[in-house]
Structures are given as C-alpha cells and as structure tokens.
C-alpha cells in the first residue's frame, strides 16, 4: 500500500450460532503510533451490523494511509501496519465506546 493511495481490504465474519446476532466492531492499529495516519473512508465498523444464523459475510474497509506518514521520522522503520477488528455483540441501549488505548 502506498501512502496517499486509496486501498481496499476485506475481512470475513461468520455467525456460527442459530440465532441472529447484532454486533458492532471497533478497530485497532499496530504499531500504535501508525494509527494517526490510518484514514478510513468507509468500512463496516462503528455501526450495528446484523448477521443472520450461520451467515458469513465479507466486510470491506476502504482506506488510505496519510501521505504525511512518509515525513514522520518515527515511522521510518515501520514497514508493516496491522489493522484488526473486534466484533462485540450489541446490547440494547449500549453506546459504542470509541476504541481507546487505555
């Protein structure tokens, strides 16, 4: 992936149970310091998504790495940025906390 160029990535999720699940996902970027350069244009996250029983779906993320990444000396040795998502089951009335780095 070239900083500044938009890119597409796919994750896959499956609901292995026999009941529909409504979930919300949050994301994590490693290394931590690279997270500020990671810009999501559109993704499946931050909103409730419903997976029917046994359903498997593709989950796209459309993003780009901020071109300023190449100018940050702290990023000079960073060749690999890992984006991961965790799916939580949404509970009634629960507000999604923005992913934090506590």
């Amino acid at each position: 992936v070239v900083p500044g160029e938009t890119a597409l990535a796919f994750y896959k999720a499956k609901n292995p149970t026999d009941k529909p699940i409504i979930g919300i996902s949050t994301y994590n970027v490693i290394p931590f310091e690279a997270g500020q350069y990671f810009n999501k244009i559109q993704c499946f996250c931050f909103e409730e998504q419903r997976l029917n029983p046994q359903e498997e779906v593709d989950m796209p993320v459309f993003f780009y790495i901020d071109p300023e990444f190449v100018e940050d000396p702290k990023m000079a040795k960073v060749n690999l940025i890992t984006l991961s998502y965790t799916f939580f089951e949404a509970k009634e009335g629960q507000k999604l906390p923005l992913p934090g780095y506590q």
């Binding site: 890119a7 597409l8 796919f10 999501k40 244009i41 779906v57 593709d58 989950m59 923005l98």
Partner: protein, 118 residues
C-alpha cells in the same frame, strides 16, 4: 519509550470512517467483484496499487445496488420503523460518490483518454 514532546506529529484519536459505514452485502451481490479483486491481489503478490481497477469495479458495484425498506428486511437488516424512517427508506450498498473523489481520478482519466473520438 516515546517522549512527551511530539513536534510535527499528529496526536492519535480513534475516529469513525469519513463516509460512514458500508451496509453488509448479505446477498453477496458484489461477491464476484470482490473475488476478482482478491484474485488480482494474490497474483500481484498483494500489491494494492496493481489492483485499483478491480477495487474501483467493486465499489461501483456497491453504488449500483439499491435496497428499500422491504429490501432491508430481505437483507436481514434490523427493521427500524418502516417507511417513515429516512435512514432505511433508501439505502445502497454504498452511497454514490464520484470515483475521482475516492482516489481513482487517474484511472478515470485513463479510461476517458482510451475512448475513441467519434
């Protein structure tokens, strides 16, 4: 350990996507486009830049797919109060956006240059 002073670098704030969430493609309407994109990635050794045409095709597929309130139920989306709810009245797998604004300007320019003059 990182220092407390961070001249010239941005502070990290987790943030939602610029253009919101993709509805799930429950019926796999754009799966073929996704497969072609993934095939390209595998063949190119996972060079994202080499597969931008197919990424663009996938996003175009999403933009062409509409779903109304009944469609929303068919797609297994949670029902949110029927026709009166603007959020579910008309939704697509992706909101229409000019491809030039999604970072594909150079590919669009190439396409129009390749078109023969009438």
């Amino acid at each position: 350990m990182s220092t407390a002073m961070n001249f010239g670098s941005k502070s990290f704030k987790p943030r939602p996507p610029d253009k919101g969430a993709f509805p799930l493609d429950h019926f796999g309407e754009c799966s073929a486009f996704k497969e072609r994109f993934m095939e390209c990635l595998r063949d190119s050794g996972y060079e994202s830049g080499a597969c931008r045409q197919r990424a663009m095709a996938y996003l175009e597929c999403r933009m062409e797919r509409q779903v109304g309130p009944r469609g929303a139920a068919r797609r297994g989306l949670p029902s949110r109060g029927g026709e009166g709810n603007p959020r579910w009245r008309r939704s697509q797998l992706m909101a229409n956006e000019p491809l030039e604004k999604l970072g594909f300007k150079d590919l669009i320019d190439e396409k129009s240059e390749a078109k023969p003059e009438k």
